[in-house]
């Protein structure tokens, strides 16, 4: 990683690929896989509309929306941190990234606040297809969130310890975290909000 490369902000030049090809391969594939799951969800939802609509009323929309804001804000901090690294404001970047991690860590906590009362109330994955879908998809997404938190911890370590932060690695982690965000936006729409 040369310094000149670090110095160039992507906004000033077109055709800059953030991260690397491998990560984009993963992201596009992941988006496609989730896309297939969402489409299947729509098909099954249409076939069992009564069950799905009935079950949907038990979801906590408030927590879902709160979690959306949490993820969006965390994503904003990661995006700002990436810019800060490019502008050599390493200390700022470290602070922004720490904030992003704290917010990101709030997501699983809120998820537990959402899940545990639901499970105690008897809305388990075995109840019906809707709840199975709900737990599988939010669970799979939660797995992505946890993985993202691990990656961000390594990003922070890189910022704090390395003499020259590895901008490609920071970008890889950042675009992964934004993808987690995008997936949640779709989840919120199709599971919590639509009718």
């Amino acid at each position: 990683m040369t310094i000149s490369q670090v110095g160039q902000a992507p906004r000033t030049r077109a055709d800059y690929l953030p991260g690397d090809h491998g990560m984009w391969f993963f992201i596009v594939g992941d988006l496609l896989i989730f896309g297939v799951y969402f489409l299947c969800y729509m098909v099954y939802r249409g076939q069992n509309l009564d069950v799905f609509l009935y079950s949907q009323q038990f979801l906590s929309q408030g927590i879902g929306v709160a979690n959306t804001i949490v993820l969006l804000t965390s994503s904003l901090f990661v995006a700002l941190a990436t810019e800060a690294v490019r502008e050599h404001k390493i200390r700022d970047a470290g602070r922004l990234l720490s904030l992003a991690i704290v917010l990101g860590a709030l997501f699983p906590v809120l998820k537990m606040v959402e899940w545990i009362p639901k499970i105690s109330a008897g809305h388990t994955p075995g109840e019906n297809l809707f709840f199975m879908y709900y737990y599988v998809m939010t669970g799979l997404h939660l797995l992505h969130v946890l993985l993202g938190l691990c990656i961000m911890a390594f990003m922070l370590r890189n910022l704090r310890q390395a003499a020259q932060p590895d901008i490609k690695f920071i970008e890889i982690g950042a675009i992964y975290w934004h993808m987690v965000d995008v997936l949640w936006l779709v989840l919120l729409a199709v599971f919590y909000l639509m009718r």
Binding site: R11, M42, V182
Partner: protein, 92 residues
Amino acid sequence: MIAYLKNPLTTVWAILSLITVAAWLIGRNVGTDLQPSHAVTLSVLLIAAAKAQLVIMYFMEVRSAPRWLKRVAYGWVLVLFPLLYLTNQLVN
């Protein structure tokens, strides 16, 4: 600090948060029995598509990425959401 508030990314974030709340107000579950609603589904999906597009463009920086990536990433939004909407309409 002020610089971060003025950053275009922050503006994008504000829009995202606002339309998230808007979507919530539209799709909010007031009564206990949910009725299928074409208008709610359409607007919620539209807002989600807009949000996904914004995150992909600005946060993931696809806006300034090579053309192939733009095609793929925007294509995902442009294909997935209409398909979700159409599936929902057709299967019902």
